[in-house]
């Protein structure tokens, strides 16, 4: 079994009010390390055996069509063993 990871982030030019809210909450808790925070989504897709090239291409297509909205978001596909 392997896990295919799809990470989706808002494009840098799109305002991320959730990330900003997290960034302003951190110092209130004494965490002063963050210059800025952006929040995204992570999908863990479990497949049988080693993912094939065809499977990865399908995951790419699904990331483009459903998991992300290319108007406002970007995605990366990775494999975790």
């Amino acid at each position: 079994m392997a896990t295919i990871i799809v990470e989706v982030m808002l494009k840098p030019e799109i305002l991320d009010p959730q990330g900003q809210a997290v960034a302003s909450a951190l110092p209130r808790l004494g965490f002063n390390f963050a210059k800025s925070v952006r929040q995204g989504k992570r999908f863990e897709i479990v497949v049988d055996g080693e993912p094939t090239h065809a499977q990865l291409a399908e995951v790419e297509a699904a990331a483009e069509k459903l998991l992300s909205n290319p108007v406002i978001e970007t995605y990366v596909v990775k494999v975790e063993k």
Binding site: L10, I14, L15, P17, Q18, A21, L66, L67, N69, V71, I72
Partner: protein, 223 residues
């Protein structure tokens, strides 16, 4: 005049939209997400709510419902479609309208009577208004901030495709104070405010919203 309203799992304002159509004098036809049958309606409303719990992104899952496949094909051939709130989000996810709606700037769910200006009266849904008319209709959403690329915004402004613009103040960070837009052909309109919630003085802040529904009936008669 048969006007359809689609019920998705999680739609909230479908019965209000059906009622607004009846009050305007039309025959309101309930449509269901899981069927691709448009039941010979002449126009369709995608109502507000939280279809599929707003999971993934607002409208992202509804966009692939069987009824949407029929609506997308019809809309590309000039069939009139009005998306209200969640319906607007479904239309951007369907790429029938450009841009996207994201979380409100201050993260609040906003429920308020909102003044807006009608800027395009050439659509079948807004022909009953006068250009520049100020109306008050409710907004109620958490993800109503309209975002689009600079090129898309220039295209919308240049072609007069902004249908509604927030007046007085921008409630949610929408670019160019955009509250509603139309496609290049003018048959597909998406608005964040809820015209179906402003059709009677007893229950709404005004009766201004009813004109969306009388407009579409007039447009269909004029065809």
């Amino acid at each position: 005049m048969r006007i359809g309203v689609v019920t998705f799992p999680g739609s909230l304002d479908d019965s209000s939209a059906l009622r607004a159509i009846r009050l305007a004098g039309g025959e309101a036809v309930p449509l269901f997400h899981a069927s691709d049958d448009l039941k010979e309606v002449q126009a369709v409303v995608l109502p507000g709510g939280f279809s599929y719990g707003d999971y993934l992104r607002c409208g992202a899952i509804s966009r692939f419902a069987p009824i949407m496949e029929s609506i997308i094909v019809a809309a590309e051939h000039g069939f009139p479609v009005l998306g209200i709130c969640n319906g607007f989000q479904i239309l951007t996810e369907s790429h029938l309208l450009p841009g996207a709606l994201i979380r409100n700037q201050d993260l609040h769910f906003i429920c308020a009577d909102q003044p807006v200006t009608v800027e395009n009266t050439n659509t079948p849904w807004t022909r009953g208004y006068t250009q520049g008319q100020r109306i008050v209709i409710p907004i109620k959403n958490g993800e109503g901030s309209y975002q689009a690329s600079a090129e898309t915004l220039a295209e919308l402004e240049g072609e007069g495709r902004v249908v509604l613009r927030y007046a007085d103040k921008n409630p949610n960070g929408s670019q160019n104070n955009i509250a509603g837009i139309t496609n290049a052909r003018g048959n597909v309109v998406g608005v964040m405010p809820h015209p179906e919630q402003a059709i009677e003085s007893l229950t709404g802040p005004s009766e201004d919203g009813l004109i969306f529904f009388s407009s579409i009936l007039q447009s269909l008669v004029a065809r």
